[in-house]
Amino acid sequence: MASVQVVNVPLPSLPSGWSADKDFKPIGALSAATQRNIEPVGPHFLAHARRKRHARTFSEDERIQAQQNVKKTEEEEDDDISEDEDPVMLTRDAKDWKAQDHYAVLGLTKYRWRATPEQIKRAHRKKVLRHHPDKKAAMGQRDENDNFFKCIQKATELLLDPVRRRQFDSVDEAADVEPPSKKDLQKGNFYKLWGPVFKAEGRFSIKQPVPQLGNEDSTQEEVETFYNFWYNFDSWRTFEYLDEDIPDDGEGRDQKRHTEKKNANARRKRKSEDIARLRELVDECLALDERIKKFRQQARAGKDAKRKAKEDEAKRLAEEKERAKVEEEQRKKEAEETAKAEREKNKKSKEAAKNAAKKNKRVLKGSVKDVNYFADGEASAAQVDSVLTDVDLVMAKIDTDELAALAERLTIAGKDSGAVKAAWAAESKRLVDAGKLKDGDVKTFA
């Protein structure tokens, strides 16, 4: 930003007698500024806006920007490939390329299966710059050994071919992460120890992205997705890389076919072994996963709560039923008791009525007897008999109330024969009127 103008005009020399404090002499101020709108475009404006918004001065801003730029270049250098080369590796024989670690040859061990084709190309270029046989010759190394250069070429050729790279990645043991032992797990964090294992295994997945193990706070859904994924794992892992070389010298078709068959079998076997291994791995992890237990407990706690609620409900219902029953019985008992009391009362009143009726009947019979059976003087037997017959007749025809009324009337009538007779006559007449007696049935009271 701060470009330096160079002006080739000599500055005047200091006049004699000029002096100022610290060699600086302020004289005047600037003329007033004009307010204008600057156009919000261009990189220099953006720098201006940045300074203004963050209230930075020129030098501060320059420093911050410079720091940012430095960081960026460092990162770029970082991902450049600068790994130490193992001296043993440098002496490798290129013929044994199958056994070499192609990523190590290119210095990409940090990335391995994650390395992009771009990175591989760059790594290759860097390695070539260093290990090209011509370079060695120029450096005065006279041994015409270009073995490592061939290794580099082989590695690049293989890694830049996606199919062959997959084959190598499939058997790249250096990229595997061993599952933690039980001892490790007792000490360490389950998630930290198992996470990388699955991350490494996930590289074989056809389906991407691969769900992660997560941590103790993962939801049940996440955990379920994770394990479901791993139990239905779809792997592209192949084992062609480990095939035995098929002799192509035409030694015999049979030999070739035999080897091919053997290879195919070996691949199948390895594949199934791999599937079994993975399955075991997931089983092991699942068995140790605290979250599963937690979820199960939660589920159980939920179930228990439900069951308890159910039981409580049942209990409550039973109690209610019981109470209802008790109440019902109570009510029945009460009803019975009242009924009994009623009955007894009825009985008593009946008896009383009976007694009263008896008494009244006696009154009735006594009334005619008192008035001497309506006879003047000594009543004849016939007379007595007919009167009594009539009395019985009337008595049989009337109910207790009428009997009582009649008895009362007769008591009032006393020993007055006329009155008694009239009472009887009225009674018998009422009975005749009521149709209970036939006219003429009662003769003596007429």
Binding site: M1, A2, S3, V4, Q5, V6, V7, N8, V9, P10, L11, P12, S13, L14, P15, W18, A20, K22, D23, F24, K25, P26, I27, G28, A29, L30, S31, A32, A33, T34, Q35, R36, N37, I38, E39, P40, V41, G42, P43, H44, F45, L46, A47, H48, A49, R50, R51, K52, R53, H54, T57, F58, I64, Q68, K71
Partner: protein, 565 residues
């Protein structure tokens, strides 16, 4: 903006281009991965896409295809609609649309009644909707070319675009699926297109941008100070443009035709449209070659017509129109209270700038040191038609990664309104009796500002005085030979193109004069042949920090002057 903390793009999928949305034609551009601006050709191969839409039986035609429809299907062809956007019917000038669909009032906005579907009924389509369709086509062209969905853009607008117009444009762009990152002024985009070139250096300069479009011309004076642009003055002519030059051609051929056939092709609407269409092509051809021909089949009454015109003839006929262009440029310089001597660069932008004579005439106005950036005067000139699109693309590449909020905050007046120096600040040199002034910070420099300069010390070394002053430029007029005084006075005003006659012109030059000393500093014991570096930092409140040290020396003399406001 764009710190490590918040500079990461909010929408990672943003893919921005620059759009120059003109009244007569539009361009789309982007910055290629190599960092070069490139203007994108649409599917027909056009880099200047006419801002025209045409409809036949529900089929939409765009660009050059639509332009051809102006002859046969003028009532269903919408052209020159950019300037109607966001305006009410009362304030628009419908003249350019005489030969296309006519603008009409619709509520508070402008609309066109066209048949844009297969049915026979006419539809009223607002200018916003037309703009949306136009932008959608531009977006589609860019997407097809780049193979990646374009969803954001920086769009250029004239300097006098009102807030309502800006809002309407942003809304229309949004409807077309384009997020407008920023609207930038056309002349500034043109300056930036030049400054964004890798070989460009950041210098303080005053630039005149002459944007000569199809239907209108806009001229602006822009101060570039340390890469920051400030518009000092603008001038607009809404009737002057490529169309005015086309009219000259049309009239010329029409007269020629009338001599032979006694009928005026301009009377017939279709004849006029054909003549206009072909005449424009002829005019453009004349910018490249000395001769151009025009041929129209069945111009009027079934008569085929063909003729040629040479450039000299055209320039002779267009003299008046050219004078208008140069007049506009002179006017804006005056409006900015500047002299032609102050102008360091003239940038020609817009389609009509291809005309060689305009640039030549402009070059005559300005002193020789002024760079005239037009195709006919400078080999390094960028195609004037592409300037604003390139500038927009450059800006788009700068702000593409920014958050929406970041952009909004940065273009807020709080940030853009800044104090500018009213006087230049520099160093005074006193040798013997004569004193000269070297500006270090020019007038109109946006504050805060910082400049560093190195000056040579006296040959013998020793103690040096640095006198920081305010300076003013004056125009010194010296007469080569004493002649009549009145003539010279008149000459200052119009150094026009037609004053070609042999005439003793005044020698006019810029002289700096010290106005007000600000501070004095002393550097002691400078080595012989050494250099002295001066750094001046001006705060927004006009406070100054000055530091002077010998280059290579360790100690510096520092001083500060407190600001007034």
């Amino acid at each position: 903006m764009g710190d490590a903390a918040n500079g990461v793009a909010a929408e990672a999928e943003r893919f921005a281009i620059g759009i120059s949305f003109g009244n007569s034609s539009s361009s789309i551009a982007r910055i290629s991965p190599e960092g070069k601006a490139e203007v994108i050709a649409n599917e027909e191969g056009d880099r200047q896409i006419p801002s025209i839409l045409s409809y036949i039986d529900g089929e939409e035609y765009h660009g050059t295809q639509a332009k051809a429809q102006l002859i046969r299907n003028s009532s269903n062809t919408v052209a020159y609609f950019r300037d109607y956007l966001g305006k009410d019917f009362k304030s628009i000038d419908p003249t350019p649309c005489h030969q296309s669909a006519h603008p009409q009032q619709s509520d508070s906005t402008v609309a066109f009644t066209i048949r844009d579907t297969e049915s026979e009924t006419l539809n009223t389509v607002t200018v916003s909707e037309i703009t949306t369709r136009h932008l959608r086509r531009l977006k589609q062209s860019a997407t097809d070319y780049l193979g990646k969905e374009v969803n954001a853009a920086v769009i250029t607008v004239p300097t006098n675009f009102t807030d309502a117009q800006r809002e309407a444009l942003i809304a229309s762009a949004k409807a077309a699926g384009i997020e407008v990152l920023q609207l930038i002024a056309e002349p500034v985009a043109a300056v930036m297109a030049y400054d964004a070139r890798p070989e460009a250096t950041v210098t303080d300069k005053l630039v005149v941008v002459a944007d000569l479009g199809g239907t209108r011309s806009d001229v602006a004076v822009i101060a570039c100070r340390g890469g920051i642009y400030t518009i000092l003055a603008t001038a607009h002519d809404y009737e002057l443009g490529g169309a005015s030059l086309d009219q000259v051609i049309i009239d010329h051929f029409a007269k020629e035709f009338m001599k032979k056939h006694k009928t005026d092709p301009r009377e017939d609407p279709r004849g006029l449209a054909k003549l206009k269409h072909e005449g424009e092509g002829t005019r453009k051809a004349l910018s490249l070659s000395a001769n151009a021909q025009l041929s129209v089949e069945s111009l009027v009454d079934g008569i085929d017509y063909g003729s040629t015109v040479n450039r000299t003839r055209f320039e002779l006929l267009s003299g008046k129109v050219f004078a208008q262009f140069t007049g506009l440029i002179e006017q804006v310089v005056k409006k900015a209270e500047l002299d032609v001597l102050d102008i360091d660069e003239v940038i020609f932008s817009g389609g009509a700038s291809h005309t060689p004579k305009i640039a030549q005439l402009t070059a005559n106005i300005f002193p020789e040191k002024t760079t005239i950036l037009a195709p006919s005067t400078s080999n390094s000139a960028i195609n004037p038609s592409e300037l604003s699109a390139r500038g927009a693309a450059f800006q788009a590449s700068l702000v593409q990664e920014f958050d929406r909020e970041d952009i909004e905050q940065s273009i807020h007046p709080m940030v853009t309104v800044t104090p500018h120096l009213s006087k230049a600040i520099g160093v005074e040199f006193i040798s013997n009796t004569e004193s000269t002034f070297q500006p270090l910070l020019n007038a109109e420099t946006a504050l805060p500002a910082r400049r560093i300069a190195q000056y040579t010390a006296p040959k013998e070394g020793g103690d040096v005085l640095v006198r920081v002053c305010e300076g003013a430029r004056e125009i010194k007029v010296t007469k080569p030979e004493p002649k009549s005084k009145e003539e010279k006075a008149a000459d200052e005003e119009d150094s026009d193109f037609d004053s070609d006659e042999e005439e003793e012109e005044d020698i006019r030059e810029i002289v700096w004069k010290t106005e007000k000393p600000v501070a004095e500093l002393a550097v002691k014991g400078v080595k012989a042949g050494g250099k002295v570096e001066i750094m001046i930092h001006v705060n927004p409140d006009l406070g100054l920090q000055i530091a002077v040290r010998e280059v290579g020396g360790s100690t510096a003399v520092r001083g500060a002057i407190n600001g007034s406001a």
